[in-house]
């Protein structure tokens, strides 16, 4: 047993990996399914006029529906699952065990990497599910743009996990860490409404998913660079903060 296997056990024995997979997997089915059958559903509900305003039933729209739905609940799930591992001082008695034996870097590294990896894998599983569901019900999305668009979202999700880690160094309890993370993400989205700033923000990468799979240009280098810098900065601050924080 070491700090890396501990994190894997934390994810599996607590069922947290299943929570992440379930959220993204279910939206991987619901997204394309709703796109495919929304016209019929609206028609059955007597909302015929709304059908004409719907976008065409395409694999791109099915994938966009997956992302739109999955990220709302998914980010909440990631925030709580991540905080449960990354709020390392939530229980001081447990924290003493680790802090008196390892450096903050050694404690944080496996937690951050394993949670980030689990998040990306869960998201990728959702993308795959959505692509397969779309392929069965509508048509197959283009693999290249789908992978590229997914990679942009994956970078954003790693940033989210870094943000959870940062919040865990600012507050101690799991709910506070998770809610502060969600609040910060919402604040960043609001800042993103200011057009000149938007292309620099991590949340811009999420929008890139729809654009790329719809054949749009790749204009995300600035956001990728800033997001990568933000990830590094978050982790650096975490190490400094936790090194000086008393248990």
């Amino acid at each position: 047993m070491n700090l890396w296997s501990l994190e894997w056990i934390r994810l599996t024995r607590t069922g947290r990996i299943l929570i992440l997979l379930a959220v993204f997997f279910s939206f991987g089915i619901i997204g394309p399914l709703s796109v495919r059958y929304l016209p019929e559903l609206l028609d059955a509900a007597g909302s015929g006029e709304a059908i004409s305003q719907l976008p065409p039933v395409t694999p791109e729209f099915a994938m966009a529906a997956y992302l739109g739905n999955a990220l709302q609940i998914g980010l909440l799930a990631i925030a709580f699952v991540g905080a449960a591992a990354l709020a390392i001082d939530a229980k001081p008695e447990i924290s003493v065990f680790f802090r008196s034996r390892s450096s903050i870097r050694d404690i944080i590294a496996p937690r951050f990497v394993v949670v980030a990896a689990a998040t990306v894998v869960a998201f990728a599983a959702g993308v795959t599910t959505a692509a397969v569901t779309s392929g069965i019900l509508i048509d197959w999305p283009e693999p290249g743009p789908t992978i590229l668009g997914s990679a942009l979202v994956a970078v954003y999700l790693v940033f989210v996990v870094a943000l959870i880690t940062l919040m865990g160094s600012l507050v101690r309890k799991v709910p506070a860490t998770a809610l502060l993370t969600v609040g910060t993400l919402i604040a960043l989205s609001i800042i993103g409404l200011y057009a000149p700033l938007a292309p620099w923000l991590p949340s811009y990468l999420v929008g890139g998913f729809d654009v790329i799979i719809s054949g749009g240009d790749f204009v995300y280098w600035r956001a990728i660079a800033l997001t990568a810098a933000a990830i590094v900065a978050c982790l650096a601050i975490v190490v400094v903060r936790l090194d000086s924080r008393e248990v």
Binding site: T14, S100, R101
Partner: protein, 293 residues
């Protein structure tokens, strides 16, 4: 010899409270040091500062340790781990190579062999305490800081913990805090008494008892007229006080030499049979209560 723990003027303030008010401590390697004091005296804070989990407000400290382990007063572990996994994790986090067989050995010593592969979520507080000690000693630290290690244990559990602490003597330096004076008396080489953040005594247990039990106080037990003996003692110029209670007479003299030279003669002159005669050695509990209040 270089001290294992050396602190100079260690101060720790929390907002309006001074938890440690200038602690000067020196503990030599291989010793078992008992830290006692009432609740709020600063024991946990001192262990927290020594272990680096809390930052001193001022003062200096030096630990001459390659690897130390600390056990909090209420140890806790992730509930989805088994006892074996907790100790194995502690083993792997130790800086030295410790064979995996050591995990079973320390679990056996801690009385947890049968519960080794059970998840700790169902453990009692006493089992957590013993698991904490197993995880603490498995890495063979040269310095062990234990905060109230026997507080939550039943008599058998306490016995096991004290045996574990006693076993470490000579192999590791042990500092453990406790408010159970019997435990301290049983295993320590040296003792420190904390009161309101100050180390009011630091030295051997015998030294403390001797210091607080001057040899000018004696208890004499006689058969028969204790009041008469006390009265005749009070007439002696070297006796400060003498009082009788049942068959025992407690007296205080102006010096130890006076007692040693004259007490026997006075008793012999009075002619009352003497059952026993001894210096009035006070209990650690009495001393503790006096020193800490």
């Amino acid at each position: 010899m270089t001290a294992m723990i050396e602190t100079n003027g260690l101060v720790k303030d929390y907002k309006d409270t001074t938890a440690l008010a200038g602690i000067d401590l020196s503990i030599e390697p291989g010793r078992v040091y008992g830290l006692i004091g009432p609740n709020g005296a600063g024991k946990t804070t001192l262990i927290g500062v020594l272990s680096g989990l809390r930052t001193p407000t001022s003062g200096t400290m030096h630990l001459d340790s390659d690897y130390f382990a600390v056990l909090p007063d209420s140890p806790a572990f992730d509930p989805w781990l088994t006892a074996y996994e907790v100790v194995d994790l502690a083993r792997n986090l130790a800086p030295t190579d410790v064979p995996e067989s050591a995990v079973d050995e320390v679990l056996e010593q801690a009385g947890l062999a049968e519960a080794a592969h059970r998840k700790v979520s169902g453990f009692s507080r006493g089992m957590f305490q013993r698991l904490g000690i197993a995880a603490t000693v498995v890495g063979e630290p040269d310095l062990v800081l234990l905060d109230e290690p026997a507080a939550a244990l039943d008599p058998a559990g306490r016995r096991e913990v004290l045996d574990l602490v006693a076993d470490m003597r000579g192999r590791a330096t042990v500092l453990f805090s406790s408010h159970i004076l019997d435990d301290v008396q049983e295993v320590v080489d040296e003792i420190g008494i904390l009161r309101k953040g100050q180390l009011v005594y630091d030295g051997s247990l015998e030294g403390l008892i001797s210091q607080q039990s001057p040899r000018t106080r004696y208890v004499v037990e006689v058969r028969g007229d204790a009041d008469g003996v006390a009265e005749s003692l009070r007439a002696e110029p070297w006796v400060v006080t003498a009082s009788a209670s049942d068959s025992a007479i407690t007296l205080e003299a102006d010096s130890a030499e006076s007692v040693e030279e004259r007490l026997v003669r006075v008793l012999a002159d009075y002619g009352q049979p003497v059952v026993s005669m001894q210096p009035n050695v006070r209990s650690l509990e009495d001393i503790f209560l006096e020193v800490t209040t």
